[in-house]
């Protein structure tokens, strides 16, 4: 699956110094959840972006520096919110369990 390496998505081709990357994986128990939807909400709760997870449950956002909320919607599960801080030059890795 595309870029599905152990420890997170492959960052080849991404200039991490110029990006505030938030990425991670959605899991149900130990199983990755593909086809879940992860929403990126800003510090006021305003919608910013949304991506579906890959077949391996992975997702990635190119955010801006700051505090964000990741809201994950998956079939047969209640929404899950996770707080995360993004900064240029760092990759915030988030594991979400539904």
């Amino acid at each position: 699956m595309c870029g599905a390496t152990k420890g997170g998505l492959d960052l080849k081709g991404v200039d991490v110094d110029k990006e505030a990357v938030i990425q991670g994986q959605v899991l149900r128990g130990d199983e990755p959840v593909g086809g879940a939807y992860v929403r990126l909400l800003d510090s006021t709760g305003e919608f910013t972006a949304e991506v579906p997870t890959s077949a391996t449950g992975h997702f990635r956002f190119f955010a801006a520096p700051g505090s964000w909320t990741l809201r994950t919607l998956a079939p047969k599960a209640d929404p899950v919110d996770r707080q995360v801080v993004a900064q240029y030059g760092e990759v915030a890795e988030v594991a979400v369990t539904v």
């Binding site: 305003e46 910013t48 972006a49 579906p52 801006a64 919607l73 047969k76 929404p79």
Partner: protein, 282 residues
């Protein structure tokens, strides 16, 4: 128009998707989503390759739209049901085309692809081929499409609704975070426009909020329902979503989508631009 005539539920689609005269169409920014799995029987439209002119900045004209739908096997009297990813942004955008070109019966699947997937409903990768038809689009109905000159004249006169994110509206970003930050020459918004992000009209699962919630949302943000309204965003697809809410769900008359949107306005020489979180003065 009303919610009942413009929207269908996933249950309705399950029940009617094989009916004669019902055509499901998935419209996406990323058409690989359709190729990986779509609702059984649905054909696809690519918002860019199929719906934009390949040379000029404009969308397909009457002849091009007729040729496209003829080739895809859509009839003038079909019930067209649109759905897609991105919370139905591009499906709403295509819906607006169908209305602009006079298709009589077009609906949107409430919640689009996301709600369908979250319900664990079936998707298939089977190839769908419909027999060609002779579709005849009507002359464009410009009562629902705004151009830049009338947008300029609407400042301080009509409701202008900027449906982009607060950071784009204020001029802190040129495009939503997570997307490429190119396009317009200047950041900001059209003076007097209210900022009502498209996302406030939808629930987390992509379905539309209730009529009462929607009326309150726009009224509280300063939209005068007694006046004409023009909605815009960056390239006209998010504002098609809001046009759908105001014109098709709430039944407001005289609502236009300005598809030139910020990528046009923010690049025009000499037009007024407001910065910051307030609408600004005419």
């Amino acid at each position: 128009m009303s919610r009942e005539s413009a929207l269908v539920s996933a249950d309705w689609v399950e029940e009617h998707k094989n009916d004669d005269g019902v055509v499901l169409i998935e419209v996406d920014e990323d058409v690989s989503a359709y190729d990986a799995g779509h609702i059984a029987g649905a054909i696809k439209l690519d918002w860019k390759d199929d719906l934009q002119d390949a040379v000029r900045r404009d969308f397909v004209n009457q002849e091009q739209f007729s040729a496209l739908l003829s080739e895809r096997g859509v009839k003038n009297d079909d019930t067209v049901v649109l759905y897609g990813g991105n919370n139905n942004w591009f499906a709403s955008y295509a819906y607006w085309y169908f209305k602009l070109y006079g298709h009589s019966d077009v609906r949107l699947l409430d919640g689009g692809r996301k709600r369908w997937e979250l319900d664990s409903r079936e998707l298939t990768d089977e190839v769908v081929k419909r027999d060609a038809t002779e579709y005849a689009a009507k002359a464009p109905n410009l009562d629902i499409r705004a151009f830049r000159d009338e947008v300029g004249e609407a400042i301080g006169v009509k409701n202008l609704v900027d449906v982009r994110s607060p950071d784009e509206y204020a001029g802190r970003l040129l495009a939503p975070a997570h997307l490429p930050q190119e396009q317009a020459q200047r950041a900001g918004h059209i003076p007097t426009a209210a900022n009502i992000p498209w996302s406030k009209a939808a629930n987390d699962d992509g379905t539309f909020r209730s009529d009462d919630e929607l009326k309150t949302l726009y009224a509280d943000a300063g939209v005068d329902f007694g006046k004409d309204t023009i909605a815009y965003c960056r390239i006209g697809e998010r504002s098609a979503h809001t046009w759908f809410v105001l014109h098709e769900i709430l039944g407001q008359e005289n609502v236009k989508n300005y598809d030139g949107s910020w990528t046009e306005w923010g690049s025009l020489v000499g037009v007024p631009v407001a910065l910051g979180d307030e609408p600004g003065k005419a």
